[in-house]
């Protein structure tokens, strides 16, 4: 087998196959199974509030009830399969996940700032954070990407395509 598979994992960003990855995956399977089981219960409870079968045929509760039951059954199956496997020890080495979650948190902050500072400033701050702190590039380069990107977005969308960007309290 040529080394393409290994290369593929490099591309996808998830180094699959290592013991650590398998542990993470198995713990995650249990947690995701539990979350989906809870979601299934929630869907069933909600669906029971709506009409199941009316004089004209199935009501709004009909379809959700069945997929809610399906979700509950399948997620319990997932957890049972997990429980039958050997227990996974506590995981370490979450640096990659930390970077991804830090990026996501920065995105959330950017979205929160859209109403206050507008897209141009919020995007610049997001880009600055990613380039400077996550990719550890020099501040000047990070600033250039942030400002250049923001100006590029403004020229492309606001000016050329006439697509309004989210504006803040400053009016842009």
């Amino acid at each position: 087998m040529p080394p393409a598979a290994a290369a593929g994992s490099r591309r996808s960003g998830f180094a699959s196959g290592s013991k650590e990855e398998m542990r993470l995956l198995r713990n995650g399977e249990f947690v995701s199974g539990a979350v989906l089981a809870a979601l299934g219960v929630f869907i069933i409870m909600e669906a029971r509030e709506w009409e199941y079968l009316g004089p004209d045929g199935p009501g709004p509760g009909f379809f959700p009830l069945w997929y809610g039951i399906g979700m509950l059954v399948l997620s319990v199956m997932l957890m049972v399969i997990h429980a039958r496997q050997a227990p996974a020890p506590a995981s370490r080495g979450m640096a990659g996940t930390g970077r991804a979650l830090a990026t996501w948190a920065a995105l959330v902050v950017c979205v929160a700032l859209l109403k206050v500072l507008g897209f141009i400033v919020a995007f610049s701050l997001l880009a600055l954070f990613i380039v400077r702190f996550l990719y550890r590039q020099p501040f000047g380069k990070a600033l250039a990407v942030a400002v250049g990107g923001a100006v590029g977005f403004y020229l492309l969308f606001d000016v050329a395509l006439n697509v309004a960007l989210p504006a803040g309290m400053l009016g842009f």
Binding site: R11, G13, L25, W50, P60, Y67, L74, F157, V163, A164
Partner: protein
């Protein structure tokens, strides 16, 4: 001819070119697939004429298949799972100093098979659409069950996870106001959710942001990737072409036929065509060492699949993958409804799209053969410049649809969901398909039961729907049969 009259207008030619160019670029770029690109650009097409918009988006779809082979051959890094097989012989050819020939064969195979796929689409779509005109709600419900079952079966290693992803998609599709009774469902008290969750939000969040967040786990993107030199001679030798003549045909036929099946996709097509090529070759032992037919067969299949995948999408309204699900949603957002009446009601769009795919394949050949060295330079684009741009365009894209900051919050939420799914190996295609088909599926089921006054046997009383539902159940039970067979074999072995 009517189609060419549409596709060859300067305006549509321009959009076709933009589509195939962007497709080639995203095929080469690490961490950005055609599904994410189409999702991000979709909001920008709302002001366009739908025919031009679909010509461009389809161009991205099939153009990305051409670009995907470049990194497989040059760097042994498959851009998409469908390009994994191309690494086997393509990278070996490159190591032997024949990268140019490998890229040239890949482009030629892509052109031949891509064109074959379009011919197949042109010949099969009209009779299939005619046949599907006899479908009523029970048949549609059964057809959607069959399509989803196929996608679930082939989406990933765990069928349970694929089914769960699909059910989450159905749940998200169910948010909003019930069309039959106006009851609001799963809105959590937010009036913004009364109209349901916008498709663009889900698609961009799960595909684009999920993909970028996954790629953010590694910092290596900041380094420039090495691009081998010596790509000047991109024309394969006459002997190479002679060796590949069966591979071109094999890739074309296998790719198209597998493309027609929902869920199978180009990855399976490329593996099967490679396997067949090796099985019938007079030198099977040489496969994996750098034989040109090992590049031609999978690359051909990868490209012919696109034409095949368009058949169920355009004639039945059933997408077979995440990318075609996004294309289906695009049609719906433009006010069009792919299905049996599509060709009859929108002949300009249908035939214009088919003709543009011929034109696009020619453009891709012309673009790819001389310009591969130039395209390969895209790999030098550092990730720290690319990823902020993707975040920015995702926010602008979502905001431009509704002008709502609430949707940008939803985008962040679906980005996290997309990342978690990738991290925990839940396939995203069943979620998107469940989301796209959820509404129609519920409507078809409820209409069927209204027709029968609540009697569910209507779904199995009609031969077509009964057959399709039977097949769907069979597909979903297939892993259990396999497992039971494995236990039986084990018991026999242990007993003997």
């Amino acid at each position: 001819m009517q189609g060419f009259a549409v596709a060859l207008t300067p305006y549509n030619l321009l959009w076709c070119f933009i589509g195939v160019f962007l497709g080639t670029v995203v095929g080469i770029l690490p961490g950005l697939g055609p599904a994410a690109t189409i999702a991000m650009l979709l909001p920008l097409t709302f002001q366009m004429n739908p025919t031009s918009a679909v010509i461009m988006l389809a161009g991205i779809y099939y153009g990305s298949k051409y670009g995907g082979s470049t990194t497989s051959i040059l760097l042994n890094v498959p851009g998409e799972s469908a390009s994994v097989v191309t690494c086997f012989d393509g990278y070996q050819m490159a190591r032997q100093g024949r990268a140019g020939a490998a890229l040239g064969i890949s482009a030629i195979a892509s052109f031949i098979a891509g064109t074959f796929g379009v011919v197949g689409l042109m010949l099969i779509a009209p009779p299939l659409a005619k046949f599907a005109l006899s479908f009523s709600s029970p048949e549609y419900f059964a057809l959607m069950c069959l399509g989803l079952a196929m996608v679930v079966l082939l989406a990933g290693e765990s069928m349970i996870k694929a089914l769960l992803a699909m059910l989450v998609g159905l749940w998200i599709a169910g948010m909003g106001t019930d069309l039959f009774t106006s009851t609001s469902r799963f809105t959590f008290g937010h009036s913004e959710l009364l109209d349901g969750v916008d498709f663009v939000v889900v698609a961009i969040g799960v595909f684009a942001l999920g993909e970028v967040l996954g790629n953010m786990e590694i910092r290596e993107g900041a380094q420039m990737l090495p691009v081998p030199k010596g790509l000047r001679n991109l024309l394969p030798t006459w002997q190479d072409l002679k060796d590949c003549r069966f591979a071109f045909l094999n890739g074309s036929v296998i790719g198209f036929l597998i493309g027609v099946l929902p869920g199978a996709g180009s990855t399976i097509a490329s593996f099967i065509s490679y396997g067949i090529e090796k099985a019938v070759s007079r030198r099977p032992e040489k496969f994996g060492t750098g034989v040109p037919e090992g590049v031609a067969a999978p690359e051909g299949a990868n490209n012919a699949e696109t034409g095949g995948a368009m058949v169920p999408l355009l004639t039945l309204g059933i997408p077979g993958s995440g990318t075609t699900a996004i294309l289906l949603a695009a049609f719906i957002l433009w006010g069009l409804r792919p299905g049996p009446l599509m060709i009859q009601d929108n002949p300009t769009l249908f035939w214009g799209l088919v003709a543009s795919m011929y034109v696009g394949n020619v453009m891709l050949l012309v673009l790819n053969l001389p310009l591969i060295p130039l395209f390969a330079q895209i790999l030098r684009l550092p990730a720290y410049m690319l990823y902020p741009f993707i975040f920015g365009i995702s926010i602008v894209g979502v905001y431009s649809v509704s002008g709502s900051i609430f949707d940008t919050w939803m985008l962040a939420l679906f980005g996290l969901l997309g990342y978690a799914m990738r991290r925990l190996e839940y396939p995203s295609a069943p979620l998107i398909l469940g989301f796209v088909l959820g509404d129609s599926m519920e409507r078809a089921l409820r209409q069927s039961l209204m027709m029968s006054q609540g009697d569910p046997t209507i779904l199995v009383a009609r031969p077509m729907s009964a057959t399709m539902l039977f097949l769907a159940v069979l597909i979903l039970l297939a892993p259990l049969f396999r497992k039971a067979n494995a236990w039986r074999v084990k018991a026999i072995v242990e007993g003997s």
